[in-house]
């Protein structure tokens, strides 16, 4: 798939690093239509696992999976639409790091309460000879401040599990055994592998969205716009880092400013409604 997001800033000199991206403009409008269309292209691999993708004819999948998404939308269960942030996170990870959704779920036991928890996205990324495990979090929010507050609290929770040995359950997506990294993935999932080793190779990509007045003010990707939005992105990166403090895991921060979340959601619903009726 062609790259969709416009990279405003990629700040790589410190950790957590920053990917500041935006959807850009077209015909004097913020590209919400195109963004919705783009993320829905990822629906098949977002929803289906490897063997399912292999067994179904890829061309005939798309209309049917769109319809399925439409039906899910109608079911009211995902009324807040916050969950669609997972699809956004999926798309951004795939686009920026060419990650592989080889694991569908990771659960861990939050002892002593024994409640089971999971992550918003689990991908792997080949890095030289190694495989990195990427455990994603997303806040599909309007306010950047609430997004930062909520996600930091969650990250701190996550970091504690580092000390809970062997309390993971991973559910793989059944990657082809021909895949060059399949043996490595197996050993990563093997309970004999020390969690310290696993965590050395674990990254946490965090995607935060927010309503940005800068985007609603502009209608073209001018130099002025880029300058203004870059300053804003750096500001929020800093407040995120300050709030998180010293953190034991590698975090990648993705910031995606929206014109408004509301118009994006409206667009999303409009599409889903049409597809559901097909």
């Amino acid at each position: 798939m062609n790259k969709f997001f416009k990279i405003i800033i990629h700040k790589n000199d410190e950790i957590p690093n920053l990917h500041g991206v935006c959807a850009g403009f077209e015909n004097k409008l913020w590209r919400k239509d195109q963004l919705v269309e783009y993320i829905f292209n990822y629906l098949p691999e977002f929803a289906l696992n490897h063997s399912e993708l292999m067994d179904f004819d890829s061309l005939s999948i798309i209309p049917k999976i769109r319809q399925a998404a439409g039906n899910v939308y109608q079911s009211q269960k995902f009324k807040s639409r916050g969950e669609f942030g997972e699809l956004l996170l999926h798309a951004i990870l795939r686009e920026t790091y060419n990650s592989i959704p080889a694991i569908s779920k990771i659960y861990y036991k939050d002892s002593p309460n024994d409640t089971v928890k999971g992550f918003d996205a689990v991908h792997v990324i080949p890095n030289g000879n190694d495989l990195e495990l990427w455990l994603g979090e997303v806040k599909f929010y309007q306010s950047i401040y609430s997004a930062i507050t909520d996600v930091v609290a969650e990250l701190i929770e996550h970091s504690k599990i580092r000390y809970v040995r062997n309390e993971f359950i991973t559910i793989s997506n059944k990657i082809d055994t021909n895949w060059e990294h399949s043996e490595k993935l197996k050993s990563l999932l093997d309970p004999i592998t020390s969690l310290d080793d696993v965590f050395e190779k674990t990254c946490i990509p965090v995607l935060l969205t927010y309503d940005s007045s800068i985007i609603s003010k502009h209608e073209k990707s001018t130099e002025d716009y880029v300058k203004e939005i870059e300053i804003e992105l750096l500001k929020f990166h800093k407040s995120f880092c300050d709030k998180l403090g010293d953190f034991p895991l590698t975090v990648h921060l993705f910031l995606l400013p929206l014109s408004t979340k509301k118009e994006l959601i409206n667009k999303l619903e409009e599409k889903l409604k049409i597809w559901q009726q097909i």
Partner: protein
Amino acid sequence: MATNLTPSLVRNILRKEFSKDLDKFEIIKAISLLAQNNQIGQELVLRLLSRRDDFIGYEIIIDSLIRRVGLYPYLQQESLSLNDSIAFEFHKPIGLADNIVFHHAQAEVYYSLMKGENIILSAPTSFGKSLIIDAVIASNKHKNIAVVVPTIALIDETRKRLSKYKKDYKIITHPTQEIEDKNILILTQERAITIINEIPIDFFVIDEFYKLSPTKSDSQRAHILNHVFYQLVKQNAQFYLLGPNIEEITTELLVNIKFRFIKTDFKTVIAEKHKINIPKGEKPINKLLELTSKLKEPTLIFCQSPASANRVANELLLNGKFNNLKENDSLVSWIKSNYHEKWILANCLEKGIGIHHGKIPRAIAQKSIKLFNEGKINFLICTSTIIEGVNTKAKNVIIYDNKIARSKFDFFTFNNICGRSGRMFSHFIGNIYLFHEPPSPELPLVDFPIFSQNEDVPAELLINLDKEDLKENSKKTLEKYYSQKHLSIQVLSENSFIELDYQIELAKFLEENINKVESYLNWKSVPSNDQLKVACILIWNYFIKSKRRIYGVSSGKQLHFRINQFREAGNLKNYIQQFIGNNNDLSKINEAIELAFDIQRHWINFQFPRYLLALNNIANHVLAKQSKSQGDFSSYANMVECYFTEPYVVPLDEYGLPVQISLKIGKQIELDKNIDKSLIAIKNLNPEKVDLSEIEKEFVYELKEYL
């Protein structure tokens, strides 16, 4: 706890009561790792599901594992994440009830069919192969759909299942029914062959397609099925062939016809096998009695033959551990007064035991299945009819005999019997109790002789092919039939369930003796006694040519006698009495009852009318060539087929209404000769407005439910 839990350790843990200190998280973790391997993963996930209540707090992980192995029907939709919810929706076929979702392998077949591919599917019993038919029908893409099934009992079962489409499609189960704009034809091959040429079929299904490969005991029916298959393929209809446990298809079809063979082991339930050890000197029946007294859930007991089933039934009755159930009382007394008061089936039903085999009258056999499926009887003693004829499922299957009739069954049949254990949603794990060593694991290759045309494919089959589709060696085989002058190819082909040489021999005989036989063959409507006798003798001597006794008949003369005897008896109860006479021995009484059933079903209702029409066909050909007037045996054939009563009794019996009850109704309201009209009359009938007993009304209500 050890992290290296092997499949067999996990299996054992999940089989037993959990110890208090069991680390459930570890168990699930082990399963998630083992689930990397498909087969074992699926089995362990099913075992985990059977213990779902013991894993409270872990629901979301269990759901993820279920989703991972593709067992969508077992997912709890409300708690799924967004991506899993979309995947779940994706696996729902359009047009079926909202709670129906396909598992991964079903969805694959379904989407391939919806794309227009021809599919031949080999999958285990619990796969849910039939549900895919429903989904294809529900798509409303097709105008005429044919579903070819091996037995009349399956016609009825399928008809009930598909009756939900009656708004869009006329459901046809009998060749004489009127065709409408959109139709679903549910037919056996014998019925299909008479009408499929007149209806443009877009999509067809052959259930239990391995029956296309002829076996020693069933080659005649296999040939007709091949013929049906060929005609439908020639119509260019899309197809879906389904069956269990087939290794491979060894034939290609016609040049331009492609298909995909999908072989899968995808199971939705698993079977736990238990070997029953029988110490030397002990009788197996004692072990069986011991076992049945322990099993509390629905149990099938597989026996090799009706005789063996009766013996087992008798032992269960004698052992005195089964108490009388009040529940089936009215049915029991109805059976006693309409068949015979000492019939073993009635006595068994009284104690919650059913018997199912090929000799039992259709409507009563169906009723037994229904009672079993509803939990009103807990044991069903059955023969191979249960694996080939109907789809019933139980928690437990006891394989008491390892034979069908006199020969040992193979692994294929063994698998099919085992497949009757376990039931989706209620019994994730079924139990199989083995009284014998299982056969060695070897699955069949299936050949479609009409397409392969190997050396051993008989002329009876080849004669039905268009010349352009004949291979060189087939042309040679047929040469002598094309060059003879006695019978036309059309006549030979129409009667091709009878050996072609036999047909020609008969034609020759008739030609040579035309003056002697003419007056015996030109009758119309009803024959004189002598005309009937000659017909029976010709049928026996030229078509059947057997010295053996077949269902109570061993000569043409005896066939004639049986037909007259049946007609004179007036009804089945009297007919049964003629065979029993003054006999008082219970097993002799049962033999007599079943002999009467045999003759009724095999000769009266099926073979004699069919042979009579073939005789008519051949005789007319000879008579016409000699410019003599022809006969018309069809109305007499119909009369015999419906037991010398009313035409509606046969279809209504097939739909689950015993002959005695339909005749009773027919005396009170007008039931037309025409099947469609008689069905409409029953549909509109208020059972409270006619004089019927409560149990008889129950039969009528059950029939109306699916009309």
